[in-house]
Symmetry: C2
Subunit: 97 residues, 2 copies
């Protein structure tokens, strides 16, 4: 069972800055959002931001595509949906019985 993978994703979302990043990327929708734009919104040092983004990329919650000198980030909705499904199935259903 790969609850490990889900735990990792939960852990990454379990940090205010990263959760904010993810939410901003969701707001960005299909267009996503370049790192620099995230930095403007969050007002944190570039190296710190980069660190958080790379963690989310590693667990598959964020995808990045380079566009010239911008690095555009996208929220990986499917991954989050799978995570939500896991939580719902593994952690809620039995309550109804």
């Amino acid at each position: 069972m790969n609850s490990q993978k889900f735990a990792q994703q939960l852990a990454e979302l379990g940090h205010v800055t990263r959760l904010d990043i993810f939410r901003l990327l969701v707001k960005g929708g299909k267009n996503g959002m370049p790192v620099s734009h995230l930095q403007d919104k969050l007002g944190i040092p570039a190296s710190t931001l980069s660190h958080h983004i790379s963690r989310m990329v590693q667990v598959g919650l964020v995808r990045q595509i380079r566009e010239g000198r911008l690095l555009r980030c996208y929220a990986e909705y499917q991954k989050l949906n799978k995570l939500i499904s896991f939580l719902t199935k593994e952690c809620c259903i039995k309550d109804n019985i």
Copy 2:
């Protein structure tokens, strides 16, 4: 907005042992499960287990009620449901537009 609270809950679920604890408690349903039973299932030292449980209690994901010398633990479904709602609302919906 108190995304901080949700981030804390996500962080607590974002640890394999604690996620396992929560899932076991869900399986326990209305009866919950005493700490000792969790320990049997997980096979980790009592102090370690206690540490993880107390963290989940602190963020409201687990409730405990003493029964003689047993301490019975319950999954707080409502809290998890609110967390899931948050994830769904804040992090998914905009995609459809």
